[in-house]
Symmetry: C2
Subunit: 356 residues, 2 copies
């Protein structure tokens, strides 16, 4: 019996391990299929549909050029100027598409988001233009100018402590109480499709580009841009531009593991957020490379555009030019389309940063 | 005899006084006719000719609008954006017209001016584009960025002490030595005609205006603007905008006596110069009113345009909006065309001013 029980034990251990392995594998496959099921990735056709949907509400922003900057950088630059979009940023495209994609019943319930930035203003305006109630959760520390902008668009603002936990909790409460639909700033199929329409227009306006560059924060703009560009012309290279001080997309992209930023700190305040699983999937599939850039180069390139082109771009937008400055060999002689994400700048705050 | 000489003396004194008066009057009339003879004032036809002449060289700048600013100011605003002109200012129009109006012999001799601002860069570029040598006298204290810009356009720069006397002396030496033609920044018929082409385009782009406003410094832009506008439509009111801290045009206009500024000090650094006899004559004839504005309003309106329109305008340009802000009753419900003179801003310098 002793020998027999020993043999049984020998058989039992690998069997148990094998069984455990099988259960884990099945669980993993189930989870993966569940995630995949939930994560239908947008395609060019979805972006085209979004464009048709939002066209009457958005500005078709201009594509500007500058002989002086072409000379400085040794390549041909085409600036798709979303700083001239409504609310001063591309965010209005995604927010409008999300609101217009709601069912009538959902529209009656209203929309909710937590944001202190451009998405809050964009959703508030998109909702108002479509007679939908918007609930915006903002940290009580948000600048007065932003609070006023959102209030000016008629949104119902809830102030909370300036922590992610407090924001999410306030949001959840509103969702429970008002049945409002959450419109996430980037982890949202319709938002991504809306953001992709800027690149769609860029390529309608300039079809002969070699490269398209977009800034990467949460990845909504980068995702939409990459789907639109690769869908229209697989040969165009799509690059992401990210501050070195908030380089989660760079790390996630190069390691293949979704890795959020920890305490990012950059002048490009629109790029503090980290990729979501959805945007990570899209970017991994469609983007050719992500470049990071230094803070000094971001500020230098922002001021260069202000000085030479006489247009206001925000620091987040300047990252796309900053990666060209730091990698001249990659771009020399090329035609590059740059998605200028927005032009919302707090001048007095920026001035004290520049003076210090 | 005593009585007789007394009588003669009584007759002699009034006669002498009368004779003196007559001589003075004749001298005055002769002088006036001489001045008028030298001061052929430009007319609409001259501005039209200038426009035909410079058209291939200049940008036809856009006329921009902003729903938000219309709402804030309670009137319809049409911004003629010379900040997007070559060298970033309307000055390129006048300089180009002056260079193109030279005879072949004069072109061979080259042009000269003294300026540390936009006119220097404008003349340098206009000259280079027409293969004419440009000599620019600049104060040695001029900012490096301006020195580099002028040098970049291939001009021959002479540095001098930062006094008007030193500048004029350096200029005269070059005129004597090189036989170069002086192109004054505003006291020049062809320069004024060139500057007037901005308003000509504005009224081609928007013919239904009630008011046109231009900033007043030396009066070149104001003169050209007023001739163009009144020539095209006498009913359109033409206003000048001037900083309170450099209000020579306001004083000269309201008193009827040409009165230069003494030590003007304003953030609108393009408006430090005083009217000349020529520009004073034109403005007196064609401008309906000159408004002055406070420094704080100039800065506030400049930042407002940056924030809302996402375009860079320089402080001098912001005066046209500042007078609307300070005189709302005059402009309410009106359609006003604003000549945005330029967008050349030294950001780091401005920032230290805003921060202080």
């Amino acid at each position: 019996m002793k020998g027999c029980s020993k043999r049984a034990a020998f058989l039992f251990i690998p069997f148990t391990l094998f069984a455990l392995l099988c259960v884990t594998a099945v669980k993993f496959l189930l989870l993966k299929s569940e995630t995949s099921k939930n994560m239908k990735l947008p395609e060019l056709a979805d972006i085209r549909k979004a464009h048709e949907r939002i066209k009457p509400f958005i500005h078709r922003t201009p594509v500007l050029t500058s002989e002086q900057l072409n000379k400085i950088f040794g390549c041909e630059l085409f600036f798709k100027c979303e700083n001239f979009q409504k609310v001063g940023a591309f965010k209005f495209r995604g927010a409008t598409n999300a609101v217009l994609s709601l069912t009538d019943e959902e529209k009656r319930s209203g929309v909710v988001t937590h944001s202190s930035g451009n998405h809050a203003a964009a959703l508030a305006l998109a909702a108002r233009m479509n007679s939908v109630k918007a609930y915006i959760v903002m940290p009580e520390t948000a600048p007065a100018v932003k609070k006023n902008a959102v209030a000016g668009y008629g949104a119902d603002i809830t102030y909370c402590k300036p922590t992610l936990q407090a924001r999410e909790e306030s949001c959840r409460k509103i969702m429970d109480k008002e049945n409002a639909i959450l419109i996430h700033p980037y982890d949202n199929f319709n938002v991504i499709c809306g953001q992709g329409t800027a690149a769609l227009e860029l390529l309608e306006q300039r079809y002969d580009l070699d490269i398209v560059i977009a800034p990467v924060g949460g990845g909504g703009l980068m995702s939409g841009t990459s789907i639109a560009v690769k869908g229209l012309n697989i040969k165009i290279r799509v690059f992401g531009a990210e501050p070195q001080n908030a380089n989660d997309a760079y790390i996630s992209f190069t390691t293949g593991n979704l890795t959020p930023s920890v305490n990012p700190l950059t002048v490009a305040d629109g790029l503090l957020t980290s990729l979501s699983e959805l945007t990570f999937s899209i970017i991994g599939k469609n983007v050719d490379k992500i470049f990071t850039t230094r803070e000094e180069t971001i500020i230098e390139c922002m001021l260069l555009v202000w000085e030479r082109m006489k247009i206001i771009i925000e620091p987040s937008s300047a990252t796309v030019l900053a990666i060209i400055k730091e990698n001249p060999d990659v771009f020399r002689g090329k035609k590059a389309g740059l998605i200028i994400s927005g032009g919302n700048v707090d001048f007095r705050k920026l001035c004290s940063k520049l003076s210090s």
